[in-house]
Every structure is written in structure tokens, then in C-alpha cells.
């Protein structure tokens, strides 16, 4: 594994932001809209709730962490799509670049944009609504690690799907975080879901994160933080390994059938 080649993949994406500041505006605009919209909705809902429960705390915290996950997943996917849209794929894969270096480069890019987005959301939530995402302490960091690993796994899955079916399959990648949020218990406890859907929640690593952090926020959930962390972490790593193997299988298939050499934005 060459750090220089990983850096090349990473810096290629950073150059895109540097060369076109409109891309940065797009990143921060959605952050602004999310925080302001959900902040005011939570504030309004708080007027109906019990004095002991803060909707702002429950919803804004969830929005910030869920956006972090979505940003990482879509960051991996869009960085990959950039290479397809600019027809750079063939140039990259005729160079000494290895597929694993390419994937690490994409993940590094999405981590950078995901962290910038997370910090921007945290600052904005603090300034606009007095919400401090770090008030629950450093315990948030290991749970963010689970979200990061799971998001990377989903990003790699989408990369594999696009590599298999062509860029027209990208539409599948955009609603994944929204669809997943239904079962991950982002905005409500898993117990709210019907029994059958709760089973689905059990295999989504993010559900362990939100159940745990919601508990720390002061609801009535019984917590076993350590168990939740380990189950969520092991599931996330499991998905990461499976999705990476899936990507490598698709890559090798494309090497054999010629799809890699013919891959283009029109595929």
C-alpha cells in the first residue's frame, strides 16, 4: 500500500473543492438548512413536551450524527462518481494505483468532508439553538467510529453497485441514508417500530449507536453501553469486510469481461 498514491486520490478531490468554491457552498448550504429546519421544528415541539424532555437535544443530536453518516457514505460514492464523470477511470487504473489504495483514498476524502460537515453542524447548532453535541462527553467518539465504519461500508457497497451496473445506478445511493434512518432508530426508539421491523434494526449497526446516545440524553431506555458498542462495532466491521470483498469481486469480474476498460459516464 503506497501512501503517495492514496494521497494522489485524496488530493485530486481536494483540488476539485479548491478549483470550484461553489462545491463548498453546496456542502454548507445543506448543513445550514438541516440545522435551522430541524432546530425550529424541535423548538416548536418542545412547547408541547414535558419540561424534563428536550426535543432540541434529542432531534438535533440525531440529525448531526446521522448527517455525519450520510456525508461519509455519499462522500465515498461521489468521489468515485467524479472519476467516472471526468472519464478519469481508465487513467487511474492503468497507473500503478491498486484498488485498495483507491478505496482508501476515497474514504480519506469522505472522512475529511464528513468531519468538516460535522464540526460546522456542531458549531451552528450551538450558535443558533444553544445545543452542544459534545455535552455527553467523549463517549460520543467510539459511537461515531461505528457510524464512520458503517458509512464507509455503505459507500463501498454503492461504489461496487455503480461499478457493476454503471453510473445510472447512482440514484440508488442517494436515498440509502434516509431509508436506513427508518430502521436505525435515529429519531425514535426502536421499540416504536412493529416487532418485525425491530428485527431489521438489530442488524443495522447505527441502531446501537442511536439507542445508546438517546439513553444518555435522558429518556427511559435501559442501557448497556458496552454491549451496544461492541455489537454495533462488530456488525459495522463485518459489513465493511463483506462490502470490500463484494467490491473486489465486481472489480475482478469487470477486469475479465472488459467492463473496466470500457467504463465511462455513458455506461
Amino acid at each position: 500500500m503506497s501512501l503517495t498514491r492514496i494521497y494522489a486520490v485524496f488530493i485530486r478531490q481536494i483540488f476539485l473543492f479548491k478549483g470550484n468554491p461553489v462545491r463548498l457552498v453546496a456542502v454548507f448550504l445543506w448543513i445550514f438548512i438541516d440545522i435551522i429546519l430541524w432546530g425550529f421544528i424541535s423548538k416548536y415541539l418542545s412547547t408541547f413536551g414535558a419540561a424534563t424532555f428536550s426535543f432540541v437535544n434529542a432531534v438535533l443530536g440525531a440529525i448531526i450524527l446521522w448527517d455525519f453518516l450520510g456525508r461519509i457514505q455519499q462522500g465515498v460514492m461521489t468521489a468515485f462518481l467524479e472519476d467516472i464523470w471526468s472519464q478519469n477511470f481508465i487513467n487511474f487504473f492503468t497507473s500503478p494505483l491498486k484498488i485498495k489504495e483507491y478505496v482508501v483514498g476515497l474514504v480519506a476524502t469522505s472522512l475529511a468532508t464528513g468531519l468538516v460537515g460535522f464540526l460546522a453542524m456542531a458549531v451552528l447548532a450551538g450558535l443558533a439553538f444553544g445545543y452542544n453535541v459534545f455535552k455527553i462527553g467523549l463517549i460520543i467518539l467510539p459511537f461515531m467510529l461505528i457510524l464512520f465504519i458503517f458509512a464507509v461500508a455503505m459507500g463501498i457497497f454503492m461504489t461496487a453497485i455503480i461499478l457493476r451496473f454503471g453510473p445510472s445506478a447512482e440514484w440508488l445511493g442517494w436515498p440509502i441514508p434516509f431509508a436506513m434512518s427508518v430502521f436505525a432508530g435515529v429519531f425514535y426508539p426502536i421499540s416504536t417500530l412493529p416487532g418485525a421491523l425491530q428485527i431489521l434494526s438489530k442488524i443495522i449497526p447505527a441502531s446501537y449507536v442511536f439507542e445508546s446516545l438517546r439513553g444518555l440524553g435522558g429518556t427511559t431506555l435501559n442501557l448497556n453501553l458496552l454491549t451496544n458498542f461492541f455489537v454495533g462495532f462488530i456488525l459495522a466491521v463485518f459489513y465493511l469486510v463483506i462490502m470490500y470483498i463484494f467490491l473486489i469481486m465486481i472489480y475482478r469480474r469487470n477486469l475479465k469481461n472488459g467492463q473496466l476498460s470500457r467504463f465511462s459516464a455513458e455506461s
Binding site: R5, F15, S86, Q87, N91, N257, L260, S261
Partner: protein, 248 residues
């Protein structure tokens, strides 16, 4: 021209279900040699180049570059080769310098800044250094593609129609650049083109392909006469229309 073999292709084949795109071909290229790979559309030229580039897995056969098997040494071998093709433009949303920087990193070029400065000057791209690649004219983009193709001083340069769609003046400049590069470095070049005058001018040897097979090979200046044809273009047309008459 050295006797050292840079590229050796042995019994190479590519099968797509019913279609035999490349059918058991063998050839080699020596250091300092420019070889033209010719043939009608669908003859198997680009398939052959893609296999040598490592982005298409052969169904059978062996590709060796500087004595190393490509299949088992792809990363190491890829450092010694590079390519330019009309269908593989560099990202248009990056500047000329940024593109060279990224590919310099990928190919592990030492003293990268100095190498980029040299290439910008050598390919008359200095004033476009901060220009987005997508804004370049065809000629400027071709010069940039070629600059990228030699950034790692490759032993083997694969050029798939490098002068297609260029005006005669720019095409001549590109040809001259490649010839100069080969003379200075002793690299080997595999060149595909449909411009027979260009091939006659540049190549030391040509290989004619049709239906995935090698039908003829030889000196582009003497080969047409050996087959009672006026020039390389007439020979090309004959190979394209009557491949069976050349089949060994």
C-alpha cells in the same frame, strides 16, 4: 536500436463468450523501436492494448514487460509503462499542473516539481499551467496527454491513435515529440493509428491485425511492395477487405 526486449506478448487471446476478440497473437518490441499496430475497426488492437495496460484480463497467454510477468507484477510493471489515447482524456475540471501532479504521484515520480516544470516547458504548456484542462484546445490537450504519458519516463509507451482529430501541423509536432522521446530514452512504443502516412513516417515496424489475428508484419517502407501494393494504405485496405488472402 537495442536488442533488449521491452515487451513480449506470447499466445495472447481474449474470448468474449462467442467472440474471439484476440486470437493467439505473439509479438515483441525491442528498446528504441516504434511498432505500429494496424488493422480495421474491431481487429483487436485496443483489446490488445488494454490487456497490456492491465485493465483487461487475457483469456490465455503471457505478457512480459522488461522480463516481468504483468499478471503477477502489475503494480511494479505499471510504473514502467504509460499510455495516451484519444478516449482517455485527463479530468477537465483540474488544471494542467494539478493533473500532472496527481499522475506524477501515482507513478512515483521523483523530484516531481522539477519534472512537471520540464514537461510544461518541453510541451509548450507553461502558459496553460493554471488553466483547467477542459478549456484546452484539442492540440493543447493532446500535448498534455503526451506529457502525462511520459511523466514517469516509461520504458514502454502505448499510444492509441494519439493524433486522431488533430490538424496536420499539431499531429506533426506530436509525432516529432514522440520520436525525440524514443531517441533520447530508448523506450519502446506501440502505436495504433489509421493514418498510414503517419505510420510510414514514424514506425520501424508494423503489425497488421484482422479478426483478432496477426496477418502480417514487417517494415512499413518495404512491406507494401512485398505484397504487390503501392503503399501502406493500399495494403491496409486489402487486409481490411480480403483478410483471408493474407492468412498464413
Amino acid at each position: 536500436m537495442s536488442e533488449k526486449i521491452v515487451l513480449k506478448v506470447s499466445n495472447l487471446a481474449k474470448q468474449y463468450q462467442e467472440l474471439r476478440a484476440v486470437d493467439n497473437i505473439s509479438f515483441s518490441i525491442k528498446a528504441g523501436e516504434i511498432v505500429g499496430l494496424l488493422g480495421p475497426n474491431g481487429a483487436g488492437k485496443t483489446t490488445t492494448i488494454n490487456m497490456i495496460l492491465g485493465i483487461l484480463e487475457p483469456s490465455a497467454g503471457l505478457i512480459e514487460i522488461s522480463g516481468k510477468d504483468l499478471k503477477n507484477n502489475r503494480c511494479q510493471v505499471s510504473r514502467q509503462i504509460n499510455f495516451s489515447a484519444v478516449y482517455a482524456q485527463l479530468p477537465g475540471n483540474l488544471t494542467v499542473r494539478q493533473n500532472l501532479y496527481i499522475f506524477g504521484l501515482l507513478y512515483g515520480v521523483r523530484n516531481l516539481k522539477a519534472r512537471i516544470d520540464f514537461l510544461l516547458k518541453d510541451f509548450a504548456l507553461e502558459k496553460f499551467s493554471k488553466t483547467r484542462t477542459g478549456l484546452l484546445s484539442s492540440g493543447e490537450a493532446s500535448r498534455l496527454n503526451l506529457a502525462k504519458a511520459v511523466i514517469n519516463k516509461p520504458y514502454l509507451l502505448l499510444l492509441d491513435e494519439p493524433t486522431a482529430s488533430l490538424d496536420p501541423s499539431i499531429a506533426q509536432i506530436i509525432r516529432q515529440k514522440i520520436k525525440t522521446y524514443v531517441n533520447q530514452t530508448g523506450s519502446a512504443v506501440l502505436w495504433t493509428s489509421h493514418n498510414m502516412a503517419e505510420i510510414t513516417d514514424v514506425c520501424d515496424r508494423v503489425i497488421f491485425m484482422s479478426h483478432g489475428r496477426i496477418l502480417l508484419s514487417g517494415d512499413p517502407k518495404t512491406l507494401p511492395a512485398e505484397h504487390d501494393k503501392k503503399d501502406l494504405e493500399e495494403l491496409f485496405i486489402a487486409v481490411a477487405r480480403e483478410p483471408l488472402s493474407f492468412d498464413k
